[in-house]
Symmetry: none
Subunit: 210 residues, 4 copies
DNA sequence: GATGAATGAGAATTCATTCAT
DNA sequence: AATGAATGAATTCTCATTCAT
């Protein structure tokens, strides 16, 4: 699929890799890193802990990812790729708007994304890449909105596509972050309101124009 | 003002303190910790760095805050108190709704709040306290909305006060988080849309009902 | 009682004391120190922990016992005095031999005594005092044996009083030390053998000659 | 020799080792730890001091023994192995009974053993292992006694093998502990008495029955 | 009598990284 | 492709002690 390729291929800048890209070991390390980071926070994503989680020796982790930044970057790229795939799937879904909203409130991915936002604070190398990916996602969402809603957005009182992306992402993230904290007050109301709003924008019965 | 007192006084539970509560040194440590955390992320809020930033010896930090959790908790309480004060000020402002929106998009405070949300992940002691404060803030905002908007919220299509709080907080946080990353696409639109929306809810000319 | 006085008074060398000797606080500190040492080993008998256990501030402990050695020495003196009292009580008991054996296998006191023996290794100030007390106890026991057994010890095959003291103390300590470890193999047999032996030396029916 | 193997091989459970088991560095660390512990007590067996004594960097000690418990356990195992070897040598000696008595009063080994007994107090992981080893030693000694003394122990007035083991170990330990303190009153008598007793049990002229 | 503040030393770990094999 | 050895820096925390009040 052309669109997917566009989004995924265009961010090469791969971590200076030593071990082969397709190695099973490499994949195991990344998976372990993902678990560690989700469970214990980004600060815990150290060579040692990742190695322990993967049942490997620390040296081996360094063999595949010479520096910690390399590892984190690779991990981010993996998540970004999965995230892109999810977005493309939403674009292709019968009801793209609601599929997007589901993706934006999907706990599994967003938890990691939040860790990376925190990480960006003091890993300048990561920040640029994360920003770049965020912008690409936004652009892609704008495409989706324009495609799915078209002139409805141009109507008076409506929010332009780019703003809509910010709004939905923000609300989705709020629901997830607070949910992780155990705070749920107002969540049902907010969710209902967003969904009612989406209904007004794109009645569920007739999701696609094409 | 009674209401302010209610909100501020009700969260005592101070960190197990060793050094006196009113000490200048203690305040200096907290300020240093705040800077470090804002600038370098929560993981950098170590005894050493905080001490270095405050121009003190590391041992002294431990004298005032025996464990790192004690320090972080105290720091959170400080921020929470300031945040509460800001909220109360908004409540008392001539145009409470817009004052609240300004507070929610105030970079200085929210940046720290985000670090704490990330921290909550793996500091269970903090999580409970953060969740509690979030809920208190939400409840207080609900009061504000009901007070400022009253029957307007009951109108068809409007979002209940609790949901409104989630929505505004989420959007505000998104603007700040992305802004910190350097991502600004759609921000102006989202901001404009929120403001237009607030205008509809509470026309700027007649903000207060009382 | 003259004998008791002899034994107790002759080892003054009191810790450089600041707080009054009879102070309740001082006594509380010593009791706390005793508990800490029994429960967590001599290495844990720090100013801080003792203070915490006693519910006092660390500075107060230092007020009464300027250095750690002062505290440890005072604690030893307290135990020694109690130990002396026990020995004198045995001497005065109707069946002194068995009362002594009971004292030598008394868990409560001996556990602390063992900690002090370990401590003696690297607290030269303590070592001298502990050695001195051990020797005094031995001498006193010799008196007891000569008094209680008299010519029986002179009989062929019997152990001289001083040796008997070493033997009984050693076996008693072994029972206690191993008991603390959870090792009990052979204990019943050893105990039975010692008791049978005491029976031969001083038939239970006629304990005292005087 | 089969018996030796039985005793020595059966206590593997090596400390979680990171550095190779046969490494010279590892051995050097253990030797240094042994010296430190013998000279300054168990509380002094810290990473720093051990490293200093071995002329190594502290980090290297942690490389081989991740936690202090690992180091202490390895050190105990080393001592236990040597102790086992000594016991087996006694068993094989022409006069096993006296060889055992010599081993039980051997200062070099027993001093360390005492430190470990004190340590067992607050290192539960060690305690189990120490207790286990003590019991194994006892069992082995019982074999020795039954083998060397046979029916003589069954004679009237004699102590069963297990009790004999407790008694000899206790007296031996007393001689060593007090000797370390500088207390020697009654030692010669006790020693002479034990030796006379051994003579009665197993006349020096005809030590072995087989 | 008692206490709060301060400090230097040291302990137990953890970590990222380098190097040689 | 993988690994063991080594290291210097950092982190969290504990401690004994001093000093001024």
């Amino acid at each position: 699929m052309a669109t997917s390729a566009t989004l995924t291929d265009s961010s090469p800048r791969p971590a200076r890799r030593v071990g082969g890209e397709g190695s099973v070991t490499r994949a195991a390390i990344l998976t372990a890193a993902e678990h560690v980071m989700r469970d214990e926070g980004y600060a815990a994503a150290s060579t040692r802990r990742v190695a322990a989680r993967a049942g490997l020796k620390p040296s081996l982790v360094h063999y595949y990812f010479p520096t910690t930044d390399d590892l984190l970057l690779a991990l981010f790229e993996k998540g970004a790729a999965e995230s892109d795939a999810g977005l493309e799937a939403a674009l292709a879904a019968p009801d793209p708007l609601r599929a997007l909203w589901a993706a934006l409130t999907d706990t599994s991915r967003t938890a990691l994304a939040l860790e990376f936002m925190a990480l960006a604070n003091h890993r300048p190398g990561l920040r640029a890449r994360i920003a770049e990916h965020s912008e690409r996602m936004r652009a892609r969402q704008v495409t989706l909105f324009d495609h799915a809603l078209g002139e409805r957005l141009a109507a008076e009182g409506a929010c332009p596509a780019a703003g809509l992306s910010v709004v939905l992402a923000g609300i989705g993230r709020a629901l997830i972050m607070e949910g992780a904290l155990g705070v749920t007050g107002g969540h049902a109301e907010a969710r209902a309101w967003v969904e009612a709003w989406l209904d007004k924008l794109a009645p569920a019965g007739a999701p696609r124009r094409d």
